[in-house]
């Protein structure tokens, strides 16, 4: 009995530790090759001429993800031409959330007018990044041979109301990179939906 308790405590500790093991700002960004809603494969290497990439783990069904769709379109409009394009990645398993299937991604992107690639993560890339929720942002900086993680977290400090934002965490981080200054907040947290996947 004691052994069982010890074993389950160890397993719990391991599970907690795994939940911890996130990329940290400064870490090298894991490469990926995923299929987008246009049926084209896209990899991080395809962005080698850009200054950086805004990787956003997001999805169709999550209300918090929905609240940010328009703001993500605006981010692409503003920062895409400046060398920081948006890449959206849906990490959810559609056998668990039918609304997040590939065909629904195509529909949602068309309905909302997504102006950025929307990729399906069917290889659990999100685990390599340590993404745990939607939306979950990783701002990557081009270091020449690879990309490093410059910022992890939320887009801004008000999920519900885009007109009442005090701090634009992501935009501020990009502007800091552009002006060669240190990013004031390299990590932020926000309420969101868990990523739905099978072990």
């Amino acid at each position: 009995m004691k052994k069982t308790i010890l074993l389950s405590s160890l397993m719990l500790a391991a599970a907690t530790f795994m939940a911890f093991s996130q990329l940290q700002p400064g870490d090298k960004a894991p490469d990926f090759k995923l299929k987008g809603i246009d049926n084209q494969w896209l990899s991080l290497n395809d962005y080698s001429k850009e200054k950086g990439v805004i990787v956003i783990f997001t999805c169709n069904h999550c209300p918090y993800a929905k609240l940010y769709e328009t703001r993500i379109i605006e981010l692409q409009k503003e920062f895409g031409p400046q060398g920081y394009p948006v890449v959206a990645i849906n990490p959810n398993d559609s056998t668990m959330v039918p609304e997040d299937s590939f065909s629904k991604m195509v529909e949602n992107a068309a309905a909302k007018g997504f102006n950025f690639p929307y990729l399906l993560d069917d290889i659990q890339l999100f685990k390599k990044y340590g993404a745990t929720r939607t939306p979950h942002v990783y701002l990557l900086k081009n270091e020449g041979a690879s990309f490093s993680v410059a910022y992890i977290g939320a887009i801004d400090d008000n999920s519900q109301d885009p007109d009442d934002v005090h701090e634009y965490y992501l935009a501020d981080a990009i502007r800091a990179l552009q002006s060669g200054k240190a990013i004031a907040k390299t990590e932020t947290k926000a309420v969101g939906c868990t990523i739905k996947f099978k072990e």
Binding site: S8, H136, E167, V191
Partner: protein
């Protein structure tokens, strides 16, 4: 006479129901202080929202938690994270249609996400999330759970 009895019963039933629907607003720091102070009580706090599918799914599991466990009092707090201006329009109607046995509080959270880190560094902000506190020991989990697992977590703190 019967009619009166039915009427009275109806009145009390109605009244009881409306009492059950009231939820108090509680600043997240106050909630944290309440569960972290020295006490015999085992505190189980579940963060949930009406829009969160896995949260709604696991509510019946939290309903199973008894008022005492291994001879110690258990206090379960269902901390709701719907937006403050959606309590009336979403949370109250939800509680009318769904059984939530334990106390529901509307967690009032400050702007930004620093409170998430403060509550538990292991929490990324995704819900559901559950924290169990007992006499200085704590357990945290992000994601869905069930009653059997919750019991294991409580046992690990006893």
């Amino acid at each position: 006479m019967y009619r009166l009895l039915i009427l009275v019963t109806f009145f009390f039933a109605l009244n009881a129901k409306s009492i059950g629907q009231q939820i108090s607003k509680l600043p997240i720091a106050t909630l944290q202080h309440r569960v972290e102070q020295a006490s015999d009580t085992i505190f189980v706090v579940n963060f949930w929202a009406t829009w969160c599918q896995p949260c709604v799914k696991e509510i019946p599991e939290f309903n199973k938690i008894p008022a005492s466990y291994a001879g110690k009092p258990v206090k379960v707090i269902m901390a709701n994270l719907d937006f403050p201006n959606q309590i009336e329009s979403r949370v109250i109607p939800f509680l009318k249609d769904n059984l939530v046995v334990h106390e529901v509080v509307a967690a009032v959270t400050p702007r930004g996400g620093e409170w998430i880190e403060k509550l538990d560094p292991a929490w990324s902000g995704a819900i559901p999330a559950t924290i169990i506190v007992h006499q200085g020991k704590r357990f945290f989990h992000e994601g869905e759970t069930d009653y059997e697992t919750i019991k294991e977590w409580i046992n690990s703190l006893l």
